[in-house]
């Protein structure tokens, strides 16, 4: 085979430019730490990385919903816990005042305390988180209970608590139900209107009627039971959110890891490639400079 000058030239040119391209790619991977930058770097990997990115965003979304829900439920739990304490105190007072030995003045004094506790209870029902009322069942922009202790909405219609997405096809409740905790509902014949119970108790005390006071004790127990039941539901909801948080965090971390495996360059591999590409280019340069030097011209 004849070897001609243009063959040598184009061989040198091609090996130099090929090695330059390889070096550039290796430098890019080493500098950016990414193996897949545009879809053409690896079409399948970039499509899969896209889906994993979407799942990450989704997991982040679940997490933020969970965090919001936890805040809200914790507010509700605090309120319900205080509500429980109030009702315990109310029961103590009622038991004491049911005693025949108490006089009218003492009962009237206690009635004032009961009225005060009732106002506290109404305040608790109006607990807010941000701009929203925690115990409102749908319309969280207006207070569920007015200052007189009347519900502002139909408790037989609106009693579900608000649900949001907290996982893949998983919805979790993020609010407490004022209707369940404080109201008398047709669906539950044993339920009592907590504020009404307190009003009735106060009336019985003011009327100095120990029998009527005694009669309210069952209702107070029922009210206490209602609030405690809603509190334990809140606990269950918080528990559910906590599980959802764990799975969302785990899922997110897994997706981040998987995406990184797909698109990120392995550091040691990237630097090995860089060194190889650099060495190859050096070799091309050395060979090219020699190619140009040796002809018969030098000898003649």
């Amino acid at each position: 085979m004849r070897v001609t000058e243009s063959q040598l030239q184009s061989l040198a040119l091609r090996s130099l430019s090929d090695n330059r391209v390889r070096l550039l790619d290796a430098q890019e991977a080493a500098m950016t730490g990414r193996r897949v930058d545009t879809p053409s770097d690896d079409p399948t990997a970039s499509a899969r990385a896209r889906l994993l990115g979407a799942l990450q965003t989704e997991s982040e979304g679940y997490l933020s919903n969970v965090e919001y829900g936890e805040l809200r439920l914790q507010q509700a739990e605090i309120a319900l816990s205080e509500g429980t304490s109030i009702l315990v105190r109310v029961k103590e007072l009622a038991m004491a005042m049911a005693n025949e030995t108490m006089n009218a003045e003492q009962r009237a004094g206690t009635a004032t305390e009961i009225d005060e506790l009732r106002r506290s209870m109404i305040d608790l029902a109006g607990t807010k988180q941000g701009d929203e009322f925690v115990f409102a069942n749908v319309n969280s922009t207006s207070t569920p209970v007015d200052p007189n202790g009347n519900f502002t909405y139909d408790v037989d219609t609106f009693f579900d608590s608000r649900q949001v997405e907290i996982g893949p096809s998983a919805r979790g409740e993020i609010s407490a139900s004022g209707a369940h905790a404080f109201a008398q509902r047709t669906a539950n014949p044993n339920s009592v209107d907590v504020f009404q119970v307190l009003t009735d108790l106060s009336a019985a005390l003011n009327a100095n009627d120990p029998a009527a006071v005694r009669a309210e004790i069952d209702n107070i127990d029922q009210a206490h039971g209602q609030v405690v039941a809603e509190r334990s539901k809140v606990g269950i909801r918080l528990n559910r959110l906590s599980i959802a948080r764990d799975s969302a965090v785990q899922a997110r971390d897994l997706y981040v890891q998987l995406e990184s495996d797909l698109v990120d360059a392995d550091a040691s591999e990237a630097f090995t490639k860089l060194t190889l590409a650099d060495t190859a280019l050096q070799a091309s340069i050395t060979v090219a400079s020699r190619l140009q030097g040796t002809t018969l011209l030098n000898a003649l």
Binding site: T4, E5, S6, S40, L51, Y62, N65, E132
Partner: protein, 460 residues
């Protein structure tokens, strides 16, 4: 046998002249060592019976016929792939994932719906959802615009390409004419042939051509295997005209010398022109169509779910996106319903009028759209459709790069084979030069010896 002294002088002279011509040929080769497309000349010698001397019968130009055909085909392939490269690289970046990418915008849009579920009455969250929807719309439109821009820009380059093709074909035709005249006068037309070979090679970077050399060293250039671009001294011309049938892009006509013209746009394959037409009429429209379908499916399905819900004002039946008029152009004309940004109450979060304030059940319905196979003719979710588009673009770019690299390396090998046959080797020419120089010295010696013999005779 007796040989006269005069004859000896003639022998010496023939050797001098022949070797001089050999030195001239080797010098020409050496001088053109770096000339693109130069084919090495060989000086052919023959013993001359008349004076027992030497004659330089011919100077031959080396050729590598079969390699030449393949080189033209690979040049076409390579130029076709390279013509598409810029547009494809730009789309590769547009479709690349990252903050603000199409997929990222879609995710964030759905994420704002997810967040709005927690507080459906919150004005900030509603505004945020509209803002993210607008960002998604903007990105879809920008992507459609980019595809369209690449179509128009690549189409514009056709004008220059066609002009260059016409210049080349008329040059080849006139070189054909020159060659026939030079040969008619009995001379060799190697320089003109080298030039013509270079032009044919350049022409193959614009369109896929086949050539053959007929009688009288005339080259015929055929386009698409049958249509003559150059025949003897006549060349056909290409013409690019803006045509509404091609979406106001350029139609390519082949105009024969006789004035007969016909549309060859769809017959263009290979080379810069073929590459651009494929990009403009097939590759980019396919991508745009996919994006249009995506935008159409997103807008119509989202609207359908949104319309069943109720806004904060208790009104139902409202669209969220401006209802697209059809699939074609759905991406570039996508928008939110007018004034939605000032009326975020319109976002239909609830499924009933009584729960209009505070209800969030319809947001769950909207969120469900994210996981339903509503795109790609109901085969993929919206996010899968975007991932699918990304991998299509990636594969297009990759396949095109492979063609470019493969054809370049194929071309490299073919060039090596051709150069090996027709290229100039300095070593070889230096040896020839030395050889001819020695031959020339030997010829001179013959004359010197003959002169000495004359002197001997004359001094008798």
């Amino acid at each position: 046998m007796t040989v006269g002294l005069v004859s000896l002088l003639q022998t010496g002279k023939s050797s001098l002249l022949s070797h001089q011509s050999g030195i001239s040929t080797a010098s020409q080769n050496l001088a053109n060592v770096n000339t693109e497309g130069f084919s090495k000349r060989d000086a052919l010698f023959q013993a001359d019976g008349r004076y027992n001397g030497l004659s330089n019968v011919d100077v031959r130009r080396r050729r590598a016929m079969f390699v030449g055909v393949n080189i033209l085909a690979q040049e076409s392939r390579k130029a076709g792939a390279e013509a598409k490269m810029t547009a494809l690289a730009s789309l590769d970046r547009v479709y690349a994932d990252g903050d603000g990418s199409l997929g990222d915008r879609l995710d964030k849009f759905f994420d704002t719906i997810r967040t709005l579920e927690t507080s459906p009455t919150d004005g900030d969250l509603r505004t945020n959802m509209v803002a993210q929807a607008q960002a998604l719309v903007d990105k879809i439109k920008a992507t459609a615009t980019e595809i369209e821009t690449q179509r128009i820009q690549s189409d514009q380059t056709l004008e220059d390409a066609v002009a260059r093709v016409n210049a080349i074909t008329s040059n080849i035709a006139s070189l054909n004419e020159q060659i026939s005249k030079i040969k008619g006068a009995g001379d060799d037309a190697y320089e003109a042939m080298d030039r013509r070979d270079n032009l044919v090679r350049e022409l193959s970077t614009f369109v896929d051509i086949t050539t053959f050399e007929g009688d009288d060293a005339q080259v015929t250039v055929l386009f698409n295997g049958a249509q003559p671009l150059v025949e003897n001294h006549v060349s056909a011309q290409l013409e690019a005209t803006l045509d509404p049938n091609y979406g106001n892009l350029r139609r390519i006509d082949l105009v024969h010398d006789s004035g007969v013209r016909h549309d060859i746009t769809q017959e263009m394959e290979g080379g810069t022109i073929g590459g651009i037409i494929e990009l403009r009429d097939e590759t980019l429209p396919t991508l745009l169509d996919q994006l249009d379908n995506f935008a159409f499916d997103l807008a119509t399905n989202f609207n359908a779910a949104h319309a069943t819900g109720f806004g904060l004002d208790g009104v139902s039946g409202r669209d969220f996106f401006q209802a697209p008029t059809g699939v074609a152009g759905a991406a570039s004309s996508l928008s939110l319903v007018a004034d939605l940004d000032n009326n975020t109450d319109w976002i239909a979060a609830s499924t009933s009028a009584v729960e209009a304030i505070g209800g969030n059940d319809n947001l769950a319905v909207l969120l469900d759209l994210e996981d339903q196979a509503l795109a790609g003719a109901n085969t993929r979710t919206f996010r899968e459709e975007i991932a699918n588009a990304m991998s299509s673009v990636g594969r297009l770019v990759q396949a095109n790069n492979v063609v470019a690299t493969e054809s370049a390396s194929e071309l490299q090998q073919l060039n090596a084979i051709r150069d090996s046959a027709t290229g100039v080797s300095i070593d070889e020419e230096m040896l020839d030069l030395t050889r001819y120089q020695r031959g020339y010295q030997a010829g001179a010696k013959i004359i010197e010896t003959t002169e000495m013999m004359y002197d001997v005779i004359l001094s008798l």
